[in-house]
């Protein structure tokens, strides 16, 4: 694999946006099988699923759930940003768009946290 001649782009806001998009995608992909397995508990009846949901009410799990909502929101908004870049004429203010997407994702996670508490 050829090495890039410069790594100066690293740490740039849009490099960071690309990294957040990638890492959030990988983490969501890792979470999905577990999510599906938990929902599959309903095959053995409502009580089985409810047992898990009661466990999920512990503070640590609530904290993790807020992280999952943040991952989903940031991947959604970052993805919309990418689709717009790829399909619309280039426009200025890309860094601001990335910041806005991140802020909105944190806002969505905040609303979830308020619903949770």
């Amino acid at each position: 694999m050829s090495r890039p001649h410069t790594t100066a782009y690293r740490g740039d806001r849009l490099w960071l946006a690309a990294m957040v998009h990638r890492v959030s995608g990988v983490l969501l992909a890792a979470f999905l099988p577990l999510h599906f397995l938990v929902l599959g508990l309903a095959l053995r009846g409502e009580a089985e699923l409810d047992g898990f949901l009661q466990w999920s009410k512990s503070p640590l799990v609530k904290f993790a759930e807020t992280g999952l909502v943040l991952l989903l929101a940031v991947h959604l908004l970052g993805g919309i940003r990418l689709l717009l870049i790829e399909n619309l004429p280039w426009r200025a203010g890309q860094k601001r768009m990335a910041t806005l997407a991140a802020a909105a994702a944190v806002g969505i996670a905040g609303v979830f946290l308020m619903a949770l508490l």
């Binding site: 992909a29 599959g40 309903a42 009580a47 409810d50 949901l53 959604l76």
Partner: protein, 110 residues
């Protein structure tokens, strides 16, 4: 599969999932606000053709999108060869699809 095809599938499933995820986030916050319980959740989904179609479509799109995404990351970060990448993509996609559809059946079947 060619890089162009993978790219197109990745973007098509992305566009499809934009409204699906928006609805998912709203349902997550709504259900959490009501104090998440199996009775509440299953009461909404069991016997519902609409939720069955929604979650079924969601699972198919997410399986394709996730499998291609993981393939791309493994190519760039792990430097895997094409045959290994394809194997990873198909296996991971199949696992997501089977577990996901099983979950849809679990919550939708009356």
């Amino acid at each position: 599969m060619s890089a162009v095809r993978l790219y197109v599938w990745q973007r098509m499933t992305a566009v499809l999932m934009v409204p699906l995820i928006a609805v998912h986030l709203i349902v997550i916050i709504y259900a959490t606000n009501r104090g998440l319980s199996a009775a509440d959740m299953l009461g909404r989904t069991r016997g519902s053709v609409a939720w069955g179609l929604y979650y079924g479509l969601f699972v198919v799109a997410a399986s394709i999108h996730g499998a291609i995404g993981v393939r791309g990351v493994a190519r760039e970060w792990l430097g895997w060869r094409e045959t290994a990448l394809d194997r990873l993509m198909w296996i991971f996609g199949a696992v997501l699809l089977v577990l996901g559809l099983r979950a849809v059946i679990a919550v939708v079947l009356p």
